[in-house]
Symmetry: C2
Amino acid sequence: MWYEGRTLDHIVISHRIRLARNLVDYKFPVKMNQQEAYEVIRHLKVELAQLIGYDFDFIELEAISDIEKQKLVETHLISPLLSQIHLPTMVICNKERDISIMINEEDHIRVQCMQGGQSIQKTWETASKLDDDIGKVLEYAFHKEYGHMTSCITNVGTGLRASFMVHLPMLSKTGHISKIFESLQKLGIQIRGMYGEGTKVLGNIYQISNQLTLGRSETDLIAIVKNVTQNLVEKEEYIRTHLSETTKRGLINKLYRSYGILRYARELSVEEAMELLSDVKLGFEMGIYDFKKPSHNLYEMMLMCQEGVVLSGSQSIKENIPLNILRAEHIRKHLEI
Amino acid sequence: MWYEGRTLDHIVISHRIRLARNLVDYKFPVKMNQQEAYEVIRHLKVELAQLIGYDFDFIELEAISDIEKQKLVETHLISPLLSQIHLPTMVICNKERDISIMINEEDHIRVQCMQGGQSIQKTWETASKLDDDIGKVLEYAFHKEYGHMTSCITNVGTGLRASFMVHLPMLSKTGHISKIFESLQKLGIQIRGMYGEGTKVLGNIYQISNQLTLGRSETDLIAIVKNVTQNLVEKEEYIRTHLSETTKRGLINKLYRSYGILRYARELSVEEAMELLSDVKLGFEMGIYDFKKPSHNLYEMMLMCQEGVVLSGSQSIKENIPLNILRAEHIRKHLEI
């Protein structure tokens, strides 16, 4: 996985480029029946397996368990929607799992490229090249005037969504965030939870992305989202470095306690675990603790406490151990240095 | 101190015998003026210094700081009342600090003998012998029919209060305690906080003692309090060993978290610290933790988090560090194995 064993402990955890594409010879997924959906999958399997320079795994979602599906959602390889669709669907991933192509989600093809940190330019180049390469072997539904045709009107045009996943604990704790987000929404910037559309905000992690994709070039869209994110980072940093003596003292106490609870709790819900890990991430970034970071990065640990990831450990279901106990165990083990 | 470096981690933390005595040649303390109070102190200093077989320290309360007084209260060598009286007062202690004699509290003389654990018989013998020894050199105010004369009517007779300090976390957590205490009060048993009359219950520690001292022999009074205490111990133990699976799971989680907070918190109020230490004491006694006990016993640590004890450390006041920060530091240091 792209996030494993890496230093990701910054405000910008990761970023992602997503391109929505459809094939000209098939109905949009919302209008397809079983048979037609199968045909799309078969067709894409054959064509994309031949792309030179890629080494893809083809995972048909019918063939895997619900827990495995959930794990794919939690590690951002597929959207929650893809895991729920009743038609045949597929995800195509490279070995590093920083490229994933969802088949038969809202659109026939959704190319996703993701990376840790802030440098989105290289990721955009990867996505763009992959898009070109696919475009050479398949014919996209493309309108001269409007651009790429998509199921949902908001994706028509470039079909691009650029997003940054940011950790904003101080903006959240101080309550500044709601006002900021209100004004960003007016500017066409979408703020969502860690797992996109309609998902809860967990651990003060937000996805910042463009709302519309039409009427602007890809590089413009990316630049807008990047600037907004950079601005949020500066605001978050400003608060962190301008705390009053009293607030800082309270924060230190709070962040140490959060670490203590994570280190010793025997049961943790996902909400609490995410909140505590958010505190611990903040504590390390602010240099508050007098002990060393764990070898796993904190974002990795946040993913580790998601239900599917926790349950996909082999013994868990057989032994009928409650999820909250398993999660706490998981975290304790990985918090060690 | 009697409680230092000893294994006291049981439900009955300690017990105490207290004898109220007055001198026949002086007015009761409530009626004394400064001069008369001084005379009592001078007189007792001379007489008790000559008692053979005792090695006493004589501490006049006027001569020590408020923090030192508070520390004497917190370590149970004097009552909160003695630290507040405006007349000259004194406490006489042996080196082990398991004998303390308060002078000019409610009565001229209050002999106190205390020990860890449950075996009150030996402590009673010590107190009784000391009482006899004092009675040989001083004349007590004694009435043939009523017995020892005291300021407060409840102490007339034997002047004896036998008390046990018990830690009843499960009876408290389950709420059983209020009903039990109600019925005990009807039987003439008094239940009070850790520092006696009018003090708050901290850390689920209660003082169980006889209300009246008249009309019964000393051994009868002691036997009654002892039986009541034994009964409470059995009730507490019953709950600890008859928890449902679910309750036990929740308890384990709670007790581990309490340990984690104590181990990492940077600020702790006395109430919270006592509550957490109570949890940790329970956790060790129930064999819940997968790590070793700290070398200090938990009761010792409870005393360590009291204000006077915390502040009597030298650097604390000079450096103007908030009490809650000092307390947390104190506890962290002593929680280490």
